[in-house]
Amino acid sequence: MKRKLGALEKVDADLTSLQYKVRRDPPSYFEDHQQQYMQYQALRDLLLQNPSTSDDTGIVRLNDLIDFVAHTADCYPKATAQFSDDLIQILSLHHDELQADLRDKMVSSLVLLRNKDLIDSATLLNTLFPILVSTHSKTLRALLFQKIISDLRSSNIRSTNHRLNRTIQTVLFNLLTSDRDSTKGLWAVKITRELWKRQIWTDARAVDIIKEACLSENEKVITGGVRFFLGGDKEREEAADESSDDDIDMKTLRHQAGINKKTKKKARELKQAAATVKRKERKKNAPHPLNFSALHLLHDPQGFAETLFSRHVQNSKSKLSLESKLIVLQLVSRLVGLHKLTVISLYSYLLKFLTPRQNSVTSFLAILAQATHTLVPPDVLEPLIQKIANEFVSEASAQEVAAAGLNAIREICARQPLAMSDTLLQDLVMYRKSKDKGVQMAARGLLSLYREVGAELLKKRDRGKDATIALISGGTKEQRFGEEAAGEIQGIDLLEQWKTEERRKRREAAGLPADAATDEEDEEDEAENWKNWDVESDDSDDSGGWINVGSDSEDINISDSEDEKENGPAAKKAKLAKSETPRPGENGSKAHSEEPIQKQISKLLTSTILTPADLKQLRALQESAAVKSQMPSSKRAALLAARHADDAITAETIEAAAAIGKKSTKEEKLAMAKSDKEGKHQSTTAKRKEKKEAEGKSTTNKEKARKKNFLMTLGKAKGKNKRSLVDIKKTMRGHIERSKRGGKRGNRG
């Protein structure tokens, strides 16, 4: 008699069910797992005989077996210890011959083993990375890149895994330095850029890798590295903004949970959503991580800029195309402008490109402007400005060209005003009478710039009222080369005034002579200030912007500096307070220069450290003295200040002036008019209605009545006609009564 088969025995060649059972109860299925493991080994040996064979002939494929073993490896770590090594060996030896799906399965199984913590990240990355660099298959490269990035991300998610990061960074660095001619270095750039974008790597070592890439010999690697410096930080900011965009509406979710069918899954989802919202909230409140831009993290920018320039731009043997040369130049000029470096040969190199016929000349002009700063000798810049003026700005040249030239000169002179001679300036300023609007605006820009920074170079009638008054009264002093304005804090004089006022009040209240305040008293005041560190005046509310720092060590430091006050550590303090060094010619104080007193560096600034309470008071005082900020010159200064020092000057900045005068076509005008209105035209009611619908709110009874199908209302209307007079009277009475009561559910009982 035939025995009845159990359900278990019927399923014969089913790895999935075996996997399920193994995971449920590892010890009892050890034998079966072992058998499958042997099967895997047999098939592996067969594969190794000829790695390029496809394995899809039999009913059990190696692919499935690898998947099975990888998923169950954590149940029998001892028995399958060899498995990961097998995969690593097969992959690294035969990745080019293997069938694509088998190969991908091996990669993902390795990653799975890593996620189960059977191998460590370093092993995984050290396996995947050489394959990424050497393989010929595009799909495999994409897969490996994704896996590498995600593994690095997941191992840095809780806390920064410094050791792993350091090993990988070393690997990338070695890849770049080992073979400078090959394109392999591009992978180092790509990985670093991706990790930089996700804010996983934010340290100087990552920047060092890119720096090395910039100095390689391969054009692709060079441009990749340079592009990172020019755009990597912006990319990072955008990515950070994007990630915070998708917000969850908890209210609707809760509402839906109340209405829809209640399942475990939905409850879990709600819980997860709440957790994410909470996490986001916490993240929003957390202090912003201080991420330095890549350009600021560079070690030895002077040397870097010099080597970049001499190796890729000036070197006649370098085979870079004009486009890549331009972006290298852009980077060099960014570095020069940002760190105030001195690369004198850069300016003479740029000289020969400053002709209107040069390809992408506006970029060259922008590069020149960007590379200019206050420490560039004026006599180096003078011939350049002269050449721009000669080549671009003339009656004979096209209007756009002249506008671009004038604009470029303005941008250069805004950074180094001393580079201009009076005859040339007076000549250029004359172009404000030009017929073309672009040229006009550019010339006016130059004029208003020099009214502020060097009015004496202008003709008398061009100087304008403010500048003339300032010149006569001697309020502006000539800025000389290399001179640095003394550091100050805007509005510190206001604070000083306020402090003396306060002191006088206090002394009057104490019955002492109002004027003479002794030094001891000063110090007493100071001590008092430090005691109530947070807020001096009770009425000013706490903005909460200050994070409480564990202040033990700091207190000690500060009291030290107080003790040493007599020994004169003033310089150190000045440095502390100098964080907002204003540019020359930018201080809006000129309007106030009727009083010809040479402004001394405030005593307050050199002798004390401002407490947060002081700073708050300072801000309040500044706001109250806002009259000054309405002046056009200070507005302009504010605009300049708003433009961040990290922002680049591009060709568009130079070309902007020329675009002003340009007549646009009808299509462009239409597009412009349309661009600020989004979507179709709608009345306010329609918009409100749409909004209401989108929010899922219900309609009013009135609306329902209006929308009701006509045929449905017919019957009632007909009935109304047939009523008797008494009925009509009844309803009319009822209506009056209802309206008196305030509706059906009236409030008067």
Partner: protein, 339 residues
């Protein structure tokens, strides 16, 4: 109301029937896809026009190429064709396709899903000349081992047949090729469930995927193991006479200096392959094999035999055979051990 009427009209528009007119081309459906394409070259598919029939060699090559056809029947028929051609060809003349072409093509079929294909494949290899098999033992054994550990019971039993045949044809090569001894032994142990470390469990372990005819299969496995052990452990009876003939008088020990007659005589040096561990190593001497057997399997097999002889019946008989083979094979090993 107005809006609903409009909506209705719009809705209707989507499902409106397009009118067909006589003499006009049929209008295209809204979701029709243009599948026409342009090609730079046109390939004409044509049957060969040669008048004379293809040779046997060509036909064999064609049939070999059909061995990985997706249909079971086609694979089986191709195998059958090859079998008839080989078995009917006159001895002495060369095969229509050399064995070095045929064997690599058919060996994967050990793991084939269809039983008829597997049986036909066994017939085909049996029809091949024995001398050709010897040089392909290692790859055939690899496939057979893969079959022995297969999830499917049918394939496992078939692999036993295959191994049995392989041992009968080239027993010496099977036990002495790389991994042939240790790995196959391990394989048998796991097949029979005679692992050394499982003795401490309370309940008997029933392995997953084993059919009802467990005892029968196990008996068969034990019989095959007996053959395997006999091939590996027992001294070959006829000892090759050391050539001491007087005919080659001045050359005394020529046979030690001529190249070995075995296939891949220097395989044990492992010049090109990956490094081998203990399992994958070649064990060419009987003494080596005895040592490995003693270390790996002897205890487990003895325990297993004891259990199966207690059960009696078919299993008991198989156990007795196995016991006898093991004793014979290991008889002189103990003596060596004692010395």
């Amino acid at each position: 109301m107005g809006s609903s009427a409009k909506k209705k009209k719009e809705k209707k528009k989507d499902f409106q029937k397009v009118k067909l007119k006589v003499g006009k081309t049929k209008p295209k459906a809204a979701n029709s896809t243009d599948t026409s394409f342009k090609a730079k070259a046109i390939a004409l598919k044509q049957q060969s026009l040669s008048t004379n029939a293809p040779t046997v060699e060509a036909q064999c090559a064609h049939q070999i190429s059909l061995l990985n056809h997706k249909s079971d029947a086609q694979r089986r028929d191709s195998l059958a064709y090859l079998t008839t051609v080989i078995s009917t060809h006159p001895p002495g003349s060369p095969l229509p396709q050399p064995a070095s072409v045929i064997i690599p093509a058919i060996q994967r079929l050990v793991l084939d899903g269809s039983n008829s294909v597997r049986q036909q494949m066994l017939k085909l290899v049996q029809s091949l000349p024995k001398t050709d098999i010897a040089s392909h033992t290692d790859s055939l054994l690899l496939h057979t081992r893969a079959g022995l550990t297969h999830l499917s019971t049918d394939i496992r039993t078939f692999a036993l047949d295959m191994l049995e045949w392989l041992l009968s044809v080239a027993g010496d090569e099977v036990v002495s090729c790389a991994g042939g001894w240790a790995k196959t032994l391990k394989c048998f142990l796991s097949l029979l469930g005679w692992q050394t470390q499982v003795g401490d469990k309370w309940s008997a372990i029933r392995t997953y995927g084993r059919g009802a005819s467990d005892a029968k299969v196990q008996a068969k496995q034990m019989n095959t193991l007996t053959t395997f052990l006999r091939a590996g452990l027992i001294q070959p009876t006829e000892i090759v006479a050391v050539g001491a003939g007087t005919s080659n008088f001045p050359l005394w020990q020529t046979e030690h200096h001529v190249l070995s007659e075995r296939s891949s005589a220097f395989a044990h040096l492992n010049l090109y392959g990956a490094t081998r561990d203990e399992e994958a190593e070649m064990y060419e001497d009987r003494e080596d094999r005895q040592r490995v057997f003693h270390e790996l399997a002897e205890g487990a097999i003895a325990a297993g035999i004891e259990q199966s002889t207690k059960g009696g019946g078919e299993l008991g008989r198989a156990g007795a055979h196995l016991c006898k083979a093991m004793k014979e094979g290991m008889a002189d090993f103990h003596r060596v051990d004692e010395d």
